[in-house]
């Protein structure tokens, strides 16, 4: 299990050090600093073995978090824990920065004492932790016996993510389908790989212990219903179902029920959380197509022409479009002409950045550039990194549609109809690259 946990600043000074196991000595703190933080080479692995001690590290801005062990621990668990630790800290005091960590070091020690015991991760749900680890000193401490036992049963209970007795005057639900569409395309326009990784984010403000059921146009579910002869609107549901390659759920979702009936039912945490992640690879709507043309004119000049085409309903608008065209390291000057938006050569980033605020569907736009090169003796050819793109579109490129989200709370007197529900779809570019 985890033997110790250290947090360092970018210089390698230790900000937090908590040792859980006797086999980890103080010298481990220095070993990591010397061998990893101060190492001259770029980090070659997130797991480092120094003198039979294993160090797992993650970096958040310029803060290093390192977990140390001398045993054969579950490595995936250690990383999951480190991420969770970051989430918990962020939930308590915002951004993970040197200043915030120094200002909250007492709190961090208190958290570390609670969420890791003898190196075993314990309940790390912020919702539960916040009920008894507060920064308000004595005033914040639970006073009555009922309060105390309520806390302990929540921390250890089956529904560790939600406390009892939550009340809202207005029961409201916000549901965001956030997708990032990833593409790798060959210069000839052949799709080398494409996938959508999506997340269903929820904000729920519901009273009591509501039971929720979430439905979407999952092909397996739709087909099953189709077979049963219950399709009342074949034109609508038949074609628009999507094949989900795989999905994972927040721990509130009953996995065995999903496995047997493919229904998504759960008691939601209060506030914001990620209900589900999924991945699709079939029938993806690629919102943009990039057509590059790079021509080397002699040894000191490059001509680049890039066309982008938007490929969705003309009534929809894409936003925050940015095309990044890499330039060689020995670029001396660039002239750009673009039809739409603004384009600029950024020498520090070795790229031409072309920005367009808005673009409707089924349109196209073009940029051409002349790149002057300095003559070099460098034998090595320019690697021609791919042209990458960023954008945001108001639909889900996977084709996912939310069919329903039902809320049942039998003990309180509100029904599904009383809950105000909001649904929003946002498609963003993930790694959206076209080789040139």
């Amino acid at each position: 299990m985890i033997g110790g946990l250290f947090i360092y600043n970018h210089k390698g000074e230790v900000l937090i050090s908590r040792v859980y196991r006797d086999d980890i000595g103080r010298n481990a703190v220095d070993a990591f600093r010397v061998n990893v933080i101060h190492a001259r080479q770029q980090v070659r692995s997130p797991v480092t073995n120094i003198a039979r001690t294993s160090f797992f590290h993650v970096k958040r801005s310029n803060i290093w978090l390192a977990a140390v062990t001398k045993q054969n621990v579950n490595a995936a668990m250690v990383f999951e824990f480190l991420y969770k630790m970051c989430d918990v800290m962020t939930a308590y005091f915002g951004k993970i920065s040197e200043e915030n960590i120094k200002n909250n070091f007492v709190l961090i020690y208190e958290l570390l004492d609670e969420i890791l015991d003898f190196g075993y991760p314990q309940n790390s749900e912020t919702g539960a932790l916040k009920t008894f680890i507060t920064q308000q000193g004595i005033k914040g401490q639970p006073q009555t016996k009922e309060e105390q036992s309520q806390i302990t049963s929540q921390v250890t209970g089956q529904i560790g993510w939600r406390r009892e007795g939550i009340k809202y005057r207005r029961n409201e639900l916000f549901l965001d389908v956030l997708e990032s569409v990833n593409l790798l395309m060959s210069p000839q326009g052949q799709v080398l790989s494409a996938h959508v990784s999506g997340r269903v984010m929820m904000k729920s403000y519901l009273s009591g212990m509501p039971e929720c059921k979430f439905g979407m146009n999952d092909k397996i579910v739709i087909d099953k219903q189709g077979k049963g002869g219950t399709t009342d609107d074949p034109g609508k549901s038949g074609k628009q179902s999507i094949a989900i390659d795989d999905c994972t759920f927040h721990q509130c979702v009953r996995l065995s029920k999903f496995d047997s009936e493919r229904s998504i039912s759960f008691i939601p945490p209060d506030g914001e959380y990620e209900l589900m992640r999924y991945r699709t690879t079939k029938d993806i709507i690629l919102p943009f197509r990039v057509i590059p043309l790079v021509r080397e004119v002699g040894r000191t000049k490059l001509e680049v022409k890039v066309v982008i085409k938007s490929n969705f309903k003309p009534s929809l608008l894409a936003q925050k479009i940015e095309v990044r065209i890499p330039t060689p390291l020995n670029t001396s000057g660039v002239q750009v002409i673009c039809m739409k938006g603004k384009a600029k050569y950024k020498a520090s980033e070795n790229a031409i950045v072309w920005k367009i605020k808005r673009m409707a569907g089924m349109k196209e736009s073009q940029i051409s550039a002349e790149i002057e090169l300095l003559p070099t003796n460098d034998k090595k050819k320019w690697a021609r990194p791919p042209i990458s793109m960023n954008f945001e579109v108001p639909f889900a490129p996977s084709g996912l549609k939310v069919r329903y989200l039902k809320v049942f709370e039998s003990k309180l007197n509100y029904s599904d109809h009383d809950v105000i529900k909001w649904v929003r779809y946002i498609g963003r570019s993930g790694i959206y690259e076209t080789r040139c």
Partner: protein, 870 residues
């Protein structure tokens, strides 16, 4: 906080100030002072002098202050045991507090204070807390038992805490169950044979129920524990799999990987024709692919594991090649791992795509990555014959780029392609020769020289090319020197008239001016061959070469099986068994996959071989001779145990030695790996043995030619002779070794397998066997059972013959095969054995008799060690 920013640390002054503040009457001031103390402690300053003052703050209602004081106590109690006792009262009192949070805090902290006197006081409160009405206290107490066990294992057993812990597995609260499972698993690891976890279908059912209800971390503890269970038949195995598969959709990657581990392990028991087996295989792919969309560090862990899974069951991911394509922004460690998996998945169906990708990668920036990509192209050529031509032309394109390391890497792989497809692509040699001058790495130079020598008859100026290398012969690395010697001899055999002078020159360079014994030996052999029988020389030097294998870097099957049992853990990340990086007794126990059963045949598998009662440290016991883990297709020959660590770096100023023994072609060798874990270079190695039972002694000095620089490992093979002084050791096969280097002399002892001493001429005369067998007195006889081996008598006999155990006769009595065998030891002792194999029942009974020729006494003790080891 201000203290952290202090540049000058004035110990006496600041401590004095803190002391005053700690003893202040104002609560707020006190708390601030304790905070300052903790801050100093964090940055590594010694504030232990404040111990009594801080402990005085412990009696407080303020939970935050209390926690800070506890934190201080955990850090310094060990260095101030006498004063730590002051804290006991407060702990005991807190364990009775009405607030469950305080009770839990007290029991949690007490367990972290490693002072003997305190642990005594811990027992009573812990007993109460284990039965506390509040689940939060119980779950904390469960972990505390593991803490206490780490400090004083005997105490935990004496106090009966283990039984209480076992009871907690049936607790109504899922988190208590999960923590109890974690604690028990940890304790069980340090008692491999204790059967502490006593998993049976009932407890398994409880665990599976808790699995659905507990936190993500608890699910991991439970799944990792489940993976150690051996289901009694394929039906049970299937029903567990069915209940574990829903975990594959969990958002936590560790839960997913642990579930994959359980499934991969239990799948072994399912008959392959079962529908469910196919369903399960299909279910495994999507979650593995999903792991690749996690954060980079987790992707790395996942990829290292997928690398194992792909080797074990390639069918799972064979259609998922695309997801392993490298993204431009992937961290380098992800890129390298993806590349590895791409090569493993490459097949005729996807080779075009793979090659196109690899070509892209070869133009990237990171040198290691580019090299690996080029090498991968070569490996594709060797793996998929249809693609070879395309691969070669891609490699030629890459050579045209003239990027130094790309060219060198390409030449190394082209050499392998030549070996795999002789007489097919030699037309490219001319292009290769153009790049001779740019080669500065030994491996590339050696490869090029090999090519020139091998195809000397097609290269007009082969002699000139090789001669140019000869100029700086002494500056070349050994690899290049050896290759050059061979290449010139090949050239001479092919074109004797023009190259006489050249061959003379290289032979004299190799034999007279070199310090490298390998080179000298090879030089003399060639010289003698050429001078006595040129025809024979031709036959030897220009002999047809064996084909090279398609797959490289495959993990050895036994290790792979073990690593599959460790999916998700560090072992799977390092691709090393836990014993290679975990100190002490933990992790020494080797895990194995369960054996597949005949459909419906519900034979309960016997205990794992490791628990057969013998000391596993004695390598090369009977089980090992049968090579249990190896499965089919293992090469014959004497069994060689994997290397184990003999000398720990911490005990030898940074020198770590691991090793094993082998018998190769009648010569006993001690294979050593020397690793320098210190900061400075090590030189002047030498080795000596103490007197031992069979007179083992080094046959020559240890050959460590180059100095061992920090973090470097070298492998040395030390031939042993039997001519050393004899002294009976306890145990008999114990060997005490002294190793010297420029720093110091270090001592360690190791045990060699007795099979090392079985000589090649150990075949007994058939006629004499029976008579001798009858003559053996009863007290020289011993019987053993070897369980769980699925071999028929012929295979067993072949395997044993590899270790010089000879089958003299065989007969079949009532469906049982009886094998009669003989063994001769180096000191002339004979051992006769009768082996009974019950077909259908994988248990062997071996009866041994001994015939003493020289040293009766020694002989008897030999047999005892030899056969009681398993």
């Amino acid at each position: 906080l201000k203290v952290i920013n202090c540049c000058v640390w004035d110990p006496s002054g600041e401590i004095f100030e803190l002391k005053a503040e700690l003893n202040s009457d104002k609560k707020e001031k006190k708390k601030e002072a304790v905070k300052k103390v903790i801050a100093s402690m964090t940055v590594g300053k010694d504030v232990s002098a404040l111990f009594p003052d801080v402990v005085n703050c412990m009696q407080t209602d303020n939970l935050e202050l209390k926690k800070l004081v506890y934190l201080y106590l955990m850090n310094y109690a060990k260095s101030q045991p006498d004063m730590a006792i002051m804290a006991v009262n407060t702990f005991v009192k807190d364990c009775e507090d009405p607030n469950p949070l305080i009770r839990a805090l007290a029991v949690r902290t007490m367990g972290c204070i490693r002072v003997d006197k305190i642990t005594e006081y811990l027992c009573e409160p812990l007993r109460k807390c284990l039965k506390d009405e509040d689940p939060y206290v119980r779950k904390t107490a469960a972990v505390c038992v593991a803490k206490l066990h780490d400090i004083n294992a005997q105490l935990v057993e004496d106090q009966g805490f283990l039984d209480t812990l076992k009871d907690l597995i049936s607790d109504s609260n899922p988190m208590v169950v999960a923590n109890a499972v974690a604690a028990l698993s940890e304790i069980a690891e340090s008692h491999p044979n204790s059967n502490l976890l006593d998993l049976n279908p009932q407890t398994i059912n409880k665990l599976l129920t808790a699995l659905n209800e507990c936190t993500e971390w608890g699910q991991i503890f439970i799944l990792d524990c489940l993976a150690n269970y051996m289901p009694c038949d394929d039906r049970e195995s299937q029903s567990i799999c069915e209940r574990v598969t829903p975990r594959l959709s969990h958002a936590n990657s560790a839960v997913v990987l642990s579930a994959v581990k359980v499934l991969m392990k239990f799948m072994e028991m399912l008959p392959k024709d079962l529908d469910y087996y196919g369903t399960l295989l299909k279910k495994l792919a999507p979650p593995l692919v999903t792991l690749l969309s996690a954060e980079a560090e987790l992707q790395y862990v996942a990829l290292r594991n997928i690398n194992l899974i792909v080797q074990k069951r390639p069918e799972i991911l064979k259609h998922e090649m695309k997801v392993f394509f490298v993204k431009y922004n992937d961290p380098i460690y992800v890129k390298l791992e993806k590349l590895d998996i791409m090569i493993r998945l490459a097949s005729q169906a996807n080779i075009a795509q793979v090659l196109a990708e690899l070509k892209e990668y070869a133009t990237e920036v990171d040198v290691d990555f580019v090299r690996k990509a080029v090498r991968a192209i070569g490996r594709c050529a060797i793996k998929v014959e249809q693609s070879a031509e395309r691969c070669v032309s891609t490699l030629l394109d890459l050579i045209q780029t003239k990027v130094n390391y790309v060219v060198q890497e390409a030449i190394v792989v082209i050499k392998d392609i030549f070996r795999k497809y002789p007489n097919k692509y030699e037309s490219v040699i001319a292009t290769l020769c153009e790049n001779l001058d740019s080669l500065d790495e030994p491996e590339a130079r050696a490869a090029m020289i090999w090519i020139v020598g091998e195809y000397a008859e097609r290269i007009d100026n082969a002699d000139e090319l090789l001669e140019s290398f000869l100029e700086g012969f002494h500056d070349e690395s050994a690899q290049v020197q050896l290759q050059l010697l061979t290449a010139i001899v090949k050239l001479f055999l092919k074109k004797p008239t023009e190259t006489q002078e050249l061959v003379q020159q290289v032979l004299s360079l190799a034999t007279q001016d070199s310090d490298n014994p390998d080179l000298r030996d090879r030089g003399y052999i060639y010289w003698r061959l050429l001078s006595t029988d040129p025809v024979a020389a031709k036959e030897v030097v220009l002999a047809e070469k064996p084909l090279i294998s398609e797959e490289t870097d495959l993990i050895e099957p036994t290790l792979l099986e073990e690593l599959i049992c460790h999916i998700g853990t560090l072992a799977s990340v390092y691709h090393k068994p836990p014993s290679a990086f975990v100190e002490g007794s933990r992790g020494v126990q080797h895990k194995r996959l369960p054996a597949r059963m005949g459909a419906g045949l519900g034979v309960a598998p016997a205990a794992m071989p490791a628990s057969l009662g013998g000391a596993p440290a004695v390598g090369g016991g009977l089980g090992d001779l049968f090579d249990l883990g190896g499965g089919v297709g293992m090469p014959t020959g004497s069994y060689v145990a994997p290397k184990t660590v003999w000398l720990l770096a911490i005990k030898a100023k940074g020198l770590e030695i691991s090793g094993t023994f082998a018998r190769r072609g009648g010569i006993i060798q001690m294979d050593l790996s020397l690793t320098n874990k210190a900061m400075s270079v090590m030189t002047d190695f030498a080795v000596q043995f103490n007197r031992n039972s069979f007179g083992l002694a080094p046959a020559g000095p240890m050959q460590v030619l180059t100095p061992l620089s920090p973090n470097q490992t070298i492998d040395v093979s030390l031939p042993l002779s039997m001519s050393g002084p004899v002294m009976k050791m306890e145990p008999l096969n114990n060997l005490q070794v002294a190793v010297k280097n420029n720093i110091d002399v270090f001592y360690f002892s190791c045990q060699y397998p007795l099979s090392l001493l079985f000589v090649e001429d150990g075949r007994f005369y058939r006629q004499v066997f029976l008579a001798t067998w009858k003559d053996i007195p009863n007290d020289s006889e011993a019987q053993f059972q070897i369980k769980d081996i699925h071999l028929n008598s012929d295979v067993a006999s072949n395997k044993l013959q590899g270790s010089n155990i000879f089958t003299i006769a065989k007969r079949t009595v009532e469906g049982q095969d009886m094998l009669y065998q003989s063994i001769k030891l180096t000191n002339g002792i004979w051992v006769l054995a009768e082996m009974r194999i019950q077909t259908g029942n994988p248990n062997y009974t071996k009866t041994n008799g001994f015939r003493d020729c020289m040293q009766k006494q020694m002989y008897d003790s030999t047999s005892v060690v030899r056969f009681s080891s398993k």
